[in-house]
Symmetry: C2
Subunit: 152 residues, 2 copies
Amino acid sequence: MRRIDGAIARAWLATAVEEARAGLAEGGVPIGAALYGADGALLGRGRNRRVQDGDPSTHAETAAFRAAGRQRSYRGTTMVTTLSPCWYCSGLVRQFGISRVVVGESVTFHGGHDWLAEHGVEVVVLDDPECVAMMREFVARRPELWHEDIGE
Amino acid sequence: MRRIDGAIARAWLATAVEEARAGLAEGGVPIGAALYGADGALLGRGRNRRVQDGDPSTHAETAAFRAAGRQRSYRGTTMVTTLSPCWYCSGLVRQFGISRVVVGESVTFHGGHDWLAEHGVEVVVLDDPECVAMMREFVARRPELWHEDIGE
């Protein structure tokens, strides 16, 4: 697998940011994600749905993974997420052998992406200012919802 | 938190086994789980739904977790599962601070339960013969489905 081009990573992040913004507009936790195939095709996209569906199991990454449906292999796929993946979503990436993770930002929350890198996943952290601003504003405004979403 | 009584662990496992059997009868992956509260009340139960819903994100543990709905805290809760939790489901337990995991068996598959024990989760492995037999028979009969379910 070739290392991902920065312009492609940012273009893919835009899909995840759209999902996060839609979640914010719905009153939800503003985290979005998208799963891209080895050929660059979008396989699935989604957002955190804790508030919208009353469903604590739907984080952005698991929503994108579900939307992609059943796949025989995740070799060469890329999970793009606006925020560093929590242990739950990092476990998803490791278990299914997703090859690469593009992280919008890891400033407001530092999840399991170092652990993924140690286990052979290509991890790209973009430190995107819009992702940082969106989460920072959300955490300041709805701290109880944010802490609920990460089990703290 | 007191260590769990063996008779209680086995009684709770029976709920997870019922879910696994129901999944088997539906043509699905026969893994079941249940989440119990600190007071011993059943919070949620569920089974793997890869085949039934075409949904790769619904493992038994995530199904039970979803069925329990939004919870402010998982302190004192117990996740009971017929099979050693994969990395995805182990990540769920760690992220949300689920206090205890009761594992029906870890003979046919050894997931992340040692990692959870290292991170302070009370782990009880029961080596239940019915759980072993159910998975062994399933893996022999549907190896491609089993490998798909764990991303191998």
